[in-house]
Symmetry: C2
Subunit: 364 residues, 2 copies
């Protein structure tokens, strides 16, 4: 088999620190599991702005396109708060999504038993929580035109953004959700604001028709986005897979993540369309962001980055055995009582980034 091409983009803040630990797991994969990688690494986000003046270079986009998978850290921080709207660090991730066609963001929200007390919700509400949010990521109001800020005759200004969803875009992401549901509990909840937005009304119709045509074995329900935010707090375990647009997905996936109380544990995948050769562009990243407040202190939790690597193995390389091993190693390390600061609780052993990464490696 040809070497697996990985592009590693550590980014800013704690990104490089947690990526180092994921890198050690990559080392283990090649040494012990005989998987050969071609790894390239580059700057992204603020780190790229500092050196190149832009959050991501065209060459890096091109490399990402060539890669079998991208492993991403995190971008942003107060240092770059003042840069222009067009070159802010987030543009790196937006461009990667857009130019690689990474339209489906998979955001698991899982509560592991040893971490149940990290949640601000009562244990009875979140015990065993396991939901998957599928968020559309290359359409909707994030990219719709017209957009911008313009001067008005009265001396004021107006800011405009446009939400657009097409049948094609809705079907494509809904398929991802239905396919995932088939491997889980077989239930999809589609979320929009069809009571006030026509784009949401179309969303509901298209998802309904697709289910009737191709996914009769999957149970489909619909929920308004405001109600979904409430239901996630009231009884999150009612959900299996949630599918929704870019903007609602942004909020609902972060909300779901916070229900677990352990953001430092949660990976994500963003997937594109499989081409004729069977290659599918894909990017994997922890959801926690660059956490500038603890960057450089060695406190960051590397598990979300390591679990992002596990997702990469599972979704891009179908290496379920290796993904399982890594996921189990992480759970075992937690069960043994090790905790980074973000998930620390009474009676546990507080460790830093390196010790946690080392422990996972030893467990493997």
């Amino acid at each position: 088999a040809p070497n697996k091409k990985l592009l590693v983009l550590p980014g800013d803040g704690i990104g490089p620190e947690v990526m180092r630990e994921a890198g050690r797991i990559v080392g283990w994969l090649s040494r012990r599991r005989g998987i050969s990688f071609d790894i390239s690494e580059d700057l992204v986000g603020g780190a790229s702005i500092d050196v190149h003046g832009v959050p991501i270079r065209d060459e890096v986009i091109a490399q990402a396109r060539e890669a079998d998978a991208v492993l991403f850290g995190a971008v942003g921080g107060p240092k770059w708060a003042g840069v222009g709207f067009d070159v802010r660090p987030e543009v790196a991730i937006l461009r990667l999504r857009q130019e690689l066609g990474l339209f489906a963001n998979l955001r698991p929200a899982i509560v592991l038993d040893p971490l149940i007390d990290s949640s601000t919700l009562k244990a009875d509400i979140v015990r065993g929580l396991d939901i998957m949010i599928v968020r559309e990521t290359v359409g909707g109001i994030y990219f719709g035109e017209p957009r911008g800020i313009e001067d008005m005759p009265d001396g004021g200004r107006r800011g405009v953004n446009t939400e657009i969803y097409t049948t094609f875009e809705i079907e494509r992401v809904a398929r991802v959700a239905f396919d995932l549901a088939r491997k889980r509990e077989g239930r999809v909840c589609s979320v929009e604001k069809s009571n006030v937005m026509e784009s949401g009304l179309l969303w509901r119709q298209v998802v309904t028709e697709l289910q009737a045509r191709e996914y009769r074995d999957v149970q489909l329900s619909h929920m308004l986005a405001d109600n979904c935010a409430m239901q996630l707090v009231r009884n999150p375990r009612q959900f299996d897979v949630i599918v929704t647009g870019n903007l609602f997905g942004d909020m609902l996936s972060d909300l779901s993540a916070m229900l677990t109380g352990s953001l430092g544990m949660l990976p994500s995948a963003t997937l594109g369309t499989r081409d004729a050769q069977g290659r599918r562009p894909a990017l994997y990243e922890p959801i926690h962001g660059s956490a500038p407040d603890i960057a450089g202190t060695g406190q960051a939790n590397p598990l979300a980055q390591i679990l992002s690597l596990a997702m990469l193995l599972r979704y891009s390389f179908s290496m379920d055995a290796e993904a399982d091993l890594i996921e189990r190693a992480c759970t075992n390390v937690l069960a043994s009582g090790l905790r980074t600061a973000d998930i620390m609780s009474a009676g546990k052993a507080k460790v830093g980034t390196g010790v946690m990464g080392e422990a996972v490696l030893r467990e493997l």
Copy 2:
């Protein structure tokens, strides 16, 4: 003083049931506090669709315009799920907001000590919670043009909505938030997605400039909407007043409400602009909706509707004494152990709508 003109719109589902209890409090206000009301009542929502074919008649809009305040129940239900997009029950509330210029929706989220266990969040996280969300309600993506669903050349369809915010609209709602903060803890958090939406970027700039010009005594912070959803779950008491646009406000205010675990307790106000005569259009409604599943069973909690009346007295008539009395009566009734089904907990006395309303009246 001239009689106070009240328009009462009970609506659908449990709306009429809880409105009956609020009506008894209105009776008490005139008998015991010497406040004279001119009250008119009309159909709205599904009830109006059934009789008139539209969710609200122009005459009712005109009456609402004439009134000193509108007391609203709730609209909607499965019975009207199939009506067209233009005549669905929600249009009643959207038209009232739009045509009366009710631009500022005030959504308190308060945890009363006797109900602290109703929350799915740990008591330590929500004890004493008292936040106020100010949501813009006549602009943004709810009303922006172009909008609609159109056929595309490829045979598919596309749904379009437009988010627009002007300097004027942002300043006007931000002023409401800053003014409220002055009577509270003096802190406003402004919420948008300025990292991906220009309308959010303008929002942030305008709020920042307004604070610098007119509200230097109020502390202003900014938060992205996805982070705000997380922070509300992580540590909701960090907030005093939150100000945000129509769509984010819809989700964040419902999320905040659910943090309390007692939706049946929460009132809301939606306010317009004071005219030259000092009159300000205003609508007051419980946040719970029409709850078709329990309509007609006599189980509904009337307290949110009664507390909406208290808000009406406070904001539209500056009758703080009466508002205080009613609010205190509600708290006392809860302290005495009465509970409707929605907030029932072990060791309390479960009562229906009428008994609860009666108890508040007796307490007064």
